[in-house]
Amino acid sequence: MKSAKFDHQRAASLDDALKALGNADGEARIMGGGQSLGPMMNLRLAQPDLLIDISRVGGLDGIEVSGDVIRVGARVTHARVEDGEVPGVTGAYMQTVASGISYRSVRNRGTIGGSVAHADPSADWPSALLALGGDVVIAGQDGERRMPLDDFQVGPFATGLGFEEILTGFELPALSDSAKCGYYKVNRKPGEFADAIGAVVIGVSPRVVCGATEAAPFRVSVAEEKLAAGATEISVADARDMIAVHEPGFDDYDLQIHAVALSRAVGRAFA
């Protein structure tokens, strides 16, 4: 279980990393904390020709509030989120999510940007951030652009990120004190990847996400409408119907645990 040969380049700056990405022959991959890409390379499931290591690039690890937006840098680790560095109601929600990711030594190195860019459907951040809403900040050869989280992940391990682009951070809504959040993960053991995720954020309008599927996490529109109309709970049976509309391919068990996750996430939001 050793990686195939690859070139390694430690970028000193974002420009440096973008340049390396632009000049690369063959497959180039960005590595932040390396907690997902590292094992995949060791299993030879990923065999990039060039690894561009951004672990020392400055300016990607900030957490700032400006008005009703919280900017979170791509290199912010799960551990920093777990430790409460993201402020407010948004931060409290993210803290809950971060503390359930794998175990502490992984959280010490793994990054929020890496997780979203990697886009493993079973990972926490793709679902949890989709429920928050906001934008992904992307740097490319021609400068910076923003893409709504709603559009970012298009499938398992597939995103709207271009080959020569780097995810640099997120602009997330700073939720008001009256906002309600709930997150529920069904998994086999504490710290394991999710078998089902329910994520609920009721800010300006309710956002309900069903995650850990074979595809990208998705918003459950009927559930959102029901919450917008004042519901404070969604039964498992109702959740099954709501999810089945979006994901007809689930077998009975998968449908059940995704429905439970959604129902319990709503329950936690109103707890």
Partner: protein
């Protein structure tokens, strides 16, 4: 006569902290992977990617032909062969590298060597194997079909072995009016020691020896096997097991990789090393526990079990392993199914089937977790059927204390204990009455609580008579230990068994203390080296403390006598006036230190008496219990679980253990071993499963897909002990290293089914995953709707 010295309490029964732990805690232990030599080569394997195929061709990477080896390049390497005299047994030679055909995914086809492991893996990746695929036999029941593909064509079928015992159920028909039938499955899984397998080999021209450091439980057997299959004399092989990070059985067998490493270093004249990675372990080490049962219990209306009728199928995988074969599992299942119960009629057929999966190996508990699960789950089903508490069935049906020693219906010679008392104690510990009242009040709140238990009796340290009856390649005999007093009065103790987590460097030193009164800190226990220790079949069958401990006691007693002769002379008194006590030789006239004895024997022999034993102060003694049919440990485990009926998730809320392993040498180690075993049992019960698709492709090749029990899955075990010494062994010790694993799947399964009884659902297949629990609930709901309609 030595009477040791227990004034400081470091002998039998003392909770002495483990001598070996400091180096592990400090990261200073030395494992096989820590060995490095200049010029060494790393090995990586090209492994079969298909379950069943002819090898059409192997194309080595251009320019690296001399770094890649197939079986054709190693004509003098013999396939591993494990004979058995069991009637009808069909053994399959296990080629270290596949010859002509592959029979499971992960089977080694070629070995590549390079300066680094990564480069060796590059070569493996670039080596192209063309397979002519054959239909695979993946399921053990499907393997029985008349038209099933043949894994070993010359057999004519896929049956490795069958055992059969019939009986007349007419004898009990008028009394046994209640009949309960069930079907169970236990999933295949992997043993997953913390340290995987590992081997480092080099040829030593000075001694003309193959030197092999390997992560094994049985260094002497590895030597015997290596010599046999590499065409060497046994004196030309020295095997050393340095620190070994767990074994659980998969390291009690000769591994293909060991044979290959031996061949490579001998022929290439470079040191070679192979460190198993976790993916290799999960794919090629998916080798244990896979059983299928049809069980029928015949009982009186009150629940007294009178008859047992079983059909057992065992999935043995593709080959037979050296030296234990893949036939022991069936023999053990047959002999242990009736457990501690006194039944009148026993019919049992076991069929061991070959399949396109890795070769079955004996995992901690060997067959007994499966049979205990099948038996104990059926007992609880009986209890639910007739509306009594399952523990009443157990206590009513178990062999009684006053019947011991007792020959069980399956010809196990139980020695000592009070099985029913362990049941009563554990029922009390888990608080059955309180849980029953909670169950009523908690009804309908989404999580159902259940309580369940499992009991077993376990043959340990079984010896010559038992293994000879199985007719396998090695039969254990008199276990030996060597003790040697050093010139400064310290003690060297050499044992042929191997300690890989059991704390034997401590417990064996405690045994020396028990006889000689020498502080354990002054005893160096050497094990795991064929060059330094007496021949031993090694560590398995929960035998080491009984066997090597017994031998140690005997060697220490002879050493004491020899020291007393010298001391009597030095004190100018009669032999009868001196005795070894508290690490000295004492008499009314004074005392002599062990250091003084050492000085006189080694450095000032002019002071020795004429009648000194010329064997000196180094003694090797052998020991075998009489009879050697085994010392029978037993235990009852009980647990309380909560089942989330919406998700099917199971949480173990409480876990109580009452165990009796006879005289405990170190109760702290007993408890640690028991907790570790029970945690592995939780893995079997709830988490661990090596899945396969219909083509025989493994579905769990990393820890992302294979769930191991960890700290978050282990409850706070509560334990109580009984101590019924075995009348047959030194100090009444019984083996206990494996027992913790045995009743856990039964206890947890019974607790789940107790929780689900109001729904009418039962789980019958391990691991009891959320998906399986939900399926059981769904099936019960469907049944109820069917009934209503």
């Amino acid at each position: 006569m030595a009477d040791g010295g227990t004034t400081e309490g470091k002998g039998i029964g003392a909770r002495v902290l483990r001598k070996e732990d400091w180096r592990h805690l400090a990261g200073k232990a030395k494992f096989t992977g820590d060995f490095q030599r200049p010029g060494q080569k790393e090995m990586a394997f090209v492994r079969s990617e298909v379950a069943h195929a002819r090898i059409v061709s192997v194309t080595k990477p251009a320019g690296f032909e001399s770094s890649v080896f197939t079986a054709k390049d190693m004509p003098d390497m013999q396939p591993m062969r494990a004979p058995s005299k069991m009637p009808g047994y069909k053994g399959a030679d296990y080629p270290a590298l596949a010859i002509g055909k592959v029979r499971f995914v992960g089977e080694p086809v070629a070995v590549c060597i390079a300066d680094t492991r990564a480069e060796a893996e590059d070569l493996a990746q670039a080596t192209l194997v063309e397979f002519g695929e054959l239909p695979a036999v993946v399921d053990m029941l499907a393997a029985k079909a008349g038209d099933a593909p043949l894994i070993h064509e010359d057999w004519g079928d896929n049956l490795v072995m069958e055992t059969f015992a019939d009986d007349d159920f007419g004898k009990i028909a008028d009394r046994a009016t209640v009949v309960v039938k069930r079907e169970y499955r236990m999933a295949r899984h992997a043993m997953n020691p913390m340290e995987g397998r590992a081997v480092f080999a080099e040829w030593d021209d000075r001694t003309d020896q193959l030197m092999m450091w390997t992560s094994t439980q049985v260094p002497h057997l590895i030597r015997t096997g290596l010599a046999q299959f590499l065409g060497l004399e046994q004196r030309q092989v020295r095997v050393i097991a340095p620190d070994v990070g767990g074994g659980f059985g998969c390291k009690a067998l000769l591994q293909p990789e060991e044979v290959i490493a031996g061949w490579l270093t001998r022929h290439l004249e470079v040191p070679v090393r192979w460190i198993e990675d976790r993916r290799e372990h999960l794919v090629t080490g998916a080798n244990c526990r896979e059983h299928h049962y049809f069980v029928t219990i015949h009982a009186t209306p009150e629940g007294r079990i009178l008859g047992l009728d079983c059909d057992v199928t065992i999935d043995a995988g593709a080959y037979s392993v050296y030296p234990f074969t893949n036939g022991l599992e069936g023999a053990m299942a047959h002999g242990n199914l009736p457990g501690p119960y006194d039944i009148e009629v026993y019919r049992c057929r076991t069929q061991t089937m070959t399949t396109n999966k890795p070769p079955l190996m004996p995992y901690r508990g060997v067959a007994r977790p499966g049979v205990c699960y099948a038996m104990e789950m059926t007992i609880d089903a009986l209890a639910r059927d007739i509306g009594v508490e399952a523990h009443d069935i157990r206590t009513m049906s178990m062999v009684k204390q006053e019947q011991l020693p007792f020959m069980s219906i399956a010809k196990k010679h139980f020695d000592s204990g009070d099985y029913a008392k362990s049941v009563e104690m554990v029922v009390d510990m888990i608080g059955l009455d309180k849980i029953r009242s909670e169950q009523i009040s908690a009804n309908g709140e989404g999580r159902l609580v259940g309580v369940g238990m499992g009991s077993f009796v376990e043959q340990t340290a079984h010896g010559t008579s038992v293994f000879a009856s199985w007719g396998v390649a090695m039969v254990p005999g008199y276990e030996q230990a060597t003790v040697r007093l050093t010139p400064d009065g310290g003690l060297e103790l050499r044992i042929g068994v191997q300690s890989h987590g059991q704390g034997m460097e401590t417990s064996m030193a405690q045994m020396a203390y028990e006889v000689l009164g020498i502080d354990p800190s002054q005893v160096t226990v050497t094990h795991g080296d064929t060059g330094l220790t007496p021949y031993s079949t090694g560590t398995y069958a929960s035998r080491s403390m009984v066997m090597a401990g017994g031998a140690t006691a005997r060697a220490c007693r002879v050493l004491a006598e020899r020291m007393e002769i010298i001391a009597a002379h030095l004190l100018q008194c009669e032999r009868a006036e001196v005795t070894v006590r508290g690490g000295k030789i004492v008499s009314g006239k004074g005392e002599v230190s062990f250091a003084e004895i050492g000085r006189v024997w080694y450095l000032n022999p002019d002071e020795l008496p004429d009648d000194v034993d010329q064997g000196g102060i180094e003694v090797t003694m052998g020991y075998r219990p009489e009879p050697d049919s085994g010392a029978f440990t037993y235990a009852s485990h009980a647990c309380k679980v909560a089942v989330d009926i919406d998700t099917g998730e199971v949480e173990v809320l409480d876990y109580a253990i009452v165990e009796d392993c006879g005289t405990m040498v170190n109760p702290m180690i007993v408890e640690g071993q028991t907790y570790g075993g029970a945690t592995q049992g939780i893995g079997t019960a709830l988490l661990e499963e090596s899945t396969y698709d219909s083509f025989g492709n493994p579905g769990a090749s990393t820890f992302a897909d294979y769930m191991m029990p960890g700290a978050t899955d282990a409850p706070h075990y509560r334990i109580d002990h009984m101590e019924s010494p075995s009348p047959f062994t030194e100090y009444g010790i019984k083996g206990m290293g494996e027992g913790g694993t045995i009743p856990t799947p039964a206890a947890i399964g019974n607790a789940i089914n107790d929780a689900l009884k109001t729904i009418g659902a039962e789980v019958t297949e391990t691991p009891f995953t959320p998906r399986r629990v939900r399926a059981a609930i769904a099936a019960a709901n469907k049944n109820r709707q069917g009934d209503a309609a």
